[in-house]
Symmetry: none
Subunit: 264 residues, 2 copies
DNA sequence: TAGTGGTCTAGACCACGAC
DNA sequence: TCGTGGTCTAGACCACTAT
């Protein structure tokens, strides 16, 4: 069989399997607009012809893209590009959680309200698996998206993380850089797992003020802990988000099944 | 070729595809302890021999079980039952999210408000990757924990899932058994991944009534889609939960980072 | 070296959807 | 009726793991 040449074809000498190369070609063509959301893709046999591969290869490529949510197939009709475009999906998987980024380019800023060293309330100490009287640093901040407040947060960090945690935090630009960057770069700690609890709660005068919102705005309350790769708890936080500006996206991945399945 | 007989074999005359039958056989054997967590499964060619099917069939069955998290494969070593046993996975998938189960033994009940076949709004059709005019069945329910309403839900199921979905739903005890049991047992569909979006929203007179709660009670709104192991979208839902009775727990697993990481 | 899963070929027949 | 994806066969060669 002769192998036809195309500007973008499948390389027989590549280390990548054919189906993987084909996947990337298709993803590229979705990204560059060759195929738009909702468009009908060529039939499977056309991919076979065009790229000189067997139907197995084409089906594996398309099948994985279906599992990844990029495509959907209907017997007797064809294979279609999913309504939701690729880029949006990318945002989801890396952010997973966002406060209405109005024009997509709005900057996230944070205002530090206070940084204090305290002996935490007993509930916090227990939540962080700390010995009694073990001190923590509490950071209170407001998080802005654009010019509006999105949330008010309270983070507890064990002083164990750093020989002089108070000073280290003071030296760090927490307004422009995330707390997780601080933990990583300054304390050498990477959050690799954790737990979150979410609730819708009533607004209060104090919260309304901290969130720069009317009393009528609903509030989303989140408590969480983060663990490093050894499983040690390294942060505990509480966050109150403006309901009208916050939306949480959760991908319930196949095998992990980590959250969000209710037995409705 | 002669076809060997086994007490539990693959029926050539079944409506179910061979790989689906094989999947169920394997799941059964995991459930009944024939294969325990961490156990090495027979090699692919052994499944081919034992059940008289081609390797394609075996690989599709095993592949979907890997996507569903039941198995994991390692080139050169073999196919293993996932460390997390089946039952636990079931529990996790149903808990993860709960409406205050006061004494831990309160019963979950559901009241079906309506079941209708409709051509869904365009947004729902797009959300489910359905062709325009493709009908859906809409199920509206209230979910009770004990004697109080916990949530009001609206589920959309494509009629494609079953030759007579309306009748099948009518014949099923949706008040005592979950919709996911219905999808599994009646439609042969297992939800293996999905997506959720959560928001705190304002209460309204209509919602307050549907939730049996005062206007002052905050409301948690959840939209979601579920996919089967091939990635096909099989359900879409909207749920409004009483904020004072609902709490969502999310485990953010190590590498997946599927949800809940904000760059505070 | 032997056994495993990973990839691939070149066919086949079927069920479903659109016409 | 025809084109689509869904399922299936019976091979093949390769890369990786264990011994």
């Amino acid at each position: 069989m002769t192998i036809s040449q195309h500007t973008q074809g499948i390389r027989r000498d590549s280390a990548l399997p054919y189906y993987e190369q084909l996947k990337r070609l298709i993803v590229e063509q979705i990204a560059d607009g060759t195929y738009g959301p909702g468009d009908l893709l060529p039939a499977e046999w056309q991919f076979c012809d065009r790229y000189g591969v067997s139907r197995t290869v084409v089906r594996q490529a398309l099948g994985e893209l279906v599992v990844e949510g990029q495509l959907n197939r209907h017997r007797g009709k064809g294979t279609f590009v999913s309504a939701r475009p690729y880029r949006e999906q990318f945002i989801e998987s890396t952010v997973g959680f966002f406060e209405d980024l109005p024009s997509g380019s709005e900057t996230v800023r944070r205002k530090v309200l206070s940084v204090q060293q305290v002996v935490p309330p007993e509930a916090v100490a227990r939540g962080l698996d700390l010995a009694a009287d073990e001190p923590c640093v509490v950071v209170e901040r407001q998080r802005y998206v654009g010019t509006d407040i999105g949330s008010y947060t309270k983070h507890y960090l064990p002083t164990l993380l750093h020989p002089d945690l108070m000073r280290a935090i003071g030296d760090f630009d927490l307004e422009r850089r995330s707390l997780y960057v601080f933990l990583d770069e300054v304390c050498g700690v990477q959050i690799s797992s954790g737990h979150r609890t979410l609730e819708a709660v009533s607004n209060t005068p104090r919260l309304a003020k901290l969130l720069g919102a009317a009393r009528s705005v609903p509030v989303l309350y989140i408590r969480g802990v983060g663990r490093d790769s050894t499983g040690r708890k390294v942060e505990l936080f509480e966050a109150w988000h403006r309901g009208d500006r916050t939306q949480i996206d959760i991908d319930v991945a196949g095998p992990t099944r980590s959250a969000g399945i209710v037995d409705y």
